[in-house]
Symmetry: C2
Subunit: 458 residues, 2 copies
């Protein structure tokens, strides 16, 4: 071990102390799991429903869960020939029966309905799936999970601690999670990286040199071409990229994190200090110092699952930026935040433009169009000047919306932003400018605003 | 004659009354010409210099001069085998001798030295040239003129009046003159258009349909491909485009003039009312109403011939615009004017930008560069924020020059603007902003500023 490795090793040990489940924690977890699996099998039998088996999947099953996480994924697998309706119906029947002993439960909907419950302190999902023969011929998205489970269990050897370290680094730095809100690394992806590289240290030092187009193919069986920055071929399905959800920015961010960590390893990468919300003075100070113009569109967050909400927020952000740019405002930065309310924040070079706007007409030699343009603008009230430039008519005219606020007030609801968001915005929204952003009191929003502050990158 | 032609015909008759030289004017002109030609021949003989002959060229020679113009071009042609030095020397010797009877004279320099004099009320150029066999093997640019002269004289028939009308229309609307200041139609070009189309009316009605790429080849002998919007192949030189100096804007403007004239013919096209200089209130009013920012760079006009001055002014205008755009200012319009002082006027969307400026760095995976960028901007005083966007580092930094004035004060002299202009600007210049433009008292400048007013196009 070199001297340079030493500080990292110490820190990693300290991290593991905090995140590795104790024997007591493990014992308790598997007790609950055994109980649930038994209940599932018993219930199916009593109801005379033909299930393949009930099984634990996910990080709990693989020994890669972080201490204190109390998530259990119990899959109830049905024979492949079961109809979709039967699977859904029987899955729910069994789940509801089990949930009778739960502290609380609710039925949720992904591709199939499933049941989520609070059970003896654990957050349990009871999910029906088809028992297919291979991950490449699944009938439902969740059917893949048991295959992932088997592969990881077979190959993880003694590397669970390494997975824990990598997951915690990703969590601490905000790149963990493959859902659409985060677009980062999934747990399965972290596990595959550890299996491929053999250790936390080797993932981190190799990632420093990653470039888009990086391909990791553990079994050398990849069949498809992928466009994503990182490609990790699924060992259980040669056509699939496990890192498909990873955005280019989270990919870049992870590279940066690895470099910084190797350079100056510290506990903060794993357990960052919580960021303090900005107070009014700090928000005003940022806006004043930059000298740019801030706009915030605020509206009540519609009741949607995150994987529906966040893509609609992204769509709205892009579309509002495009709208403002169409009206010649220059966007510097933007961002979205969502809590009880949702907010799209746009930073503009300026939120006011001069009244004059240059309007390019057709070339003189396109006779009809150019004469039409001329007669429309010549001597019109809205025209400041009409002239020829590069062979075309140009009219300097009165700008319709000289402020960004006016653009939003008149055109915001034309923006494409997804069905539910569009409805929420149409129902009611506020437009705040500059220091009015202080009217948003939510502490988490005020942490989000740190994006506009000096120390954006740890 | 159709009813529609009638008003035009009346107007054209009225125009001709004003611009067609009277018999008395013609008599007087040719008396002076005869006298000058005789003097030239006599002087050469006395000095024992071998000249081919002295001849009148230009519009006076072709009967296409506008009444009141008193310009005479006398060419003294030397045998082709004469050396360049000998031509220049002998040309000047003969010219100086003739100029002894002039009211005033000065020696001027184009490709060759020549003599300009005030002689019995006429503005006379005495120009030495080589008597070459064909316009396609000239030794000096002026050698072409005698060929043009012969061609027009041979083909003009009785069309002099038509030429006069076309020239006056071009003069009245600002498209006459092929010098670099105007980039419009030369007299020879106007003559060829009349010879080709047969009448003023037919030029005007055909020009309404011109498009870039229009080719007129009277003798069908053109040999070269030209990029200019209008190509009129020189009947005396198949490789040359007589309309080479015509800019796309003057081409478009002429098309527009012809359409407007046919639509509503009026004397004003030929004899426009002189435009009144704007007063202080009008200048301030324009600037205030548009809401944009005006900047003027004012400096003493260097002593240069127009064909050198105007290209340098154009170059300066382009280069100042590029400079301001490099610093993220948005140029709406610009223009140059030159009198005793020269002025470059720039209209900006805004002359002030916020302090924050978005500075794009390298992609994260270009390790050396991206780490260099990060260590330069991370925590630096000038940095507002550092973050990753589209896989690249971006730093929001403090803008070096947040006003256009600061850009000009610090970088103007780096602009490429031609040798003499550069010297003049470096020696001394003023930067005026918005209403300070009223400090420029020159009446002609205040007419030029009408460019920013409603009625730019007659």
């Amino acid at each position: 071990m070199t001297a340079a490795d030493k500080p990292g090793e110490d820190i990693q040990k300290e991290v593991l102390k905090k995140i590795k489940p104790s024997d007591e924690e493990k014992r308790k977890l598997f007790m609950v799991v055994d109980e649930l699996l038994e209940k599932a099998t018993d219930t199916a039998r009593k109801m005379d429903i033909d299930i393949g088996r009930a099984m634990l999947v996910g990080s709990a099953a693989r020994g890669t869960w972080i201490s204190g996480t109390h998530d259990l994924d119990i899959f109830i697998s049905f024979p492949e020939e079961t109809s979709r309706e039967e699977l859904e119906e029987s899955g729910l029947l069994i789940s509801r029966e089990i949930a009778k002993d739960a502290e609380a439960f609710e039925e949720r909907y992904a591709e199939h309905p499933y049941l989520n419950m609070r059970y003896r302190g654990f957050d349990v999902d009871l999910v029906p799936c088809f028992a297919v023969n291979s991950a490449s011929c699944i009938k439902s998205a969740v059917d893949r999970t048991p295959f992932h489970n088997s592969f990881v269990k077979e190959h993880i050897d003694e590397l669970q601690d390494e997975v824990l370290l990598l997951k915690q680094l990703m969590k601490g730095t905000g790149v963990y999670g493959s859902e659409l809100r985060t677009q980062g690394f999934s747990g399965y992806l972290a596990e595959l990286l550890i299996i491929h590289y053999g250790s936390f240290k080797d993932v981190v030092s190799d990632a420093c040199e990653w470039k888009p187009g990086m391909v990791i193919d553990l079994l050398g069986h990849g069949t498809a071409k992928h466009e994503e920055p990182l490609v990790v071929v699924d060992p259980t399905d040669p056509g699939r990229n496990v890192a498909a959800a990873l955005s280019v920015d989270k990919f870049a961010r992870f590279i940066e994190i690895c470099r910084s960590y190797l350079d100056r390893p510290s506990l903060e990468f794993f357990f960052p200090k919580p960021q303090k919300p900005l107070n009014d003075d700090e928000i005003s100070g940022i806006i004043e110092e930059r000298g740019s113009s801030f706009l915030a569109i605020v509206f009540k967050t519609p009741d949607l699952v995150e994987d529906v909400l966040y893509p609609q927020l992204d769509k709205m952000e892009i579309s509002v930026k495009a709208l403002l740019e169409q009206y010649e405002f220059t966007v510097i930065n933007s961002g979205t935040w969502s809590g009880e309310d949702s907010v799209v924040v746009i930073e503009l070079l300026s939120s006011a433009l001069p009244l004059v706007k240059k309007h390019h007409g057709p070339p003189i030699w396109v006779r009809d169009h150019s004469q039409g343009f001329r007669s429309k603008y010549e001597g019109a009230d809205e025209t400041f000047a009409l002239y020829i430039e590069d062979g075309r008519y140009v009219a300097d005219i009165r700008r319709k919306f000289p402020t960004a606020r006016e653009v939003l007030e008149n055109r915001l609801t034309d923006c494409s932003m997804g069905k539910q968001l569009s409805k929420a915005v149409k129902k009611e929204h506020m437009i705040l400018e500059n220091k009015q952003l202080c009217n948003i009191r939510d502490a988490d929003f005020r942490v989000f605003m740190r994006k506009w502050q000096k120390n954006g990158i740890p």
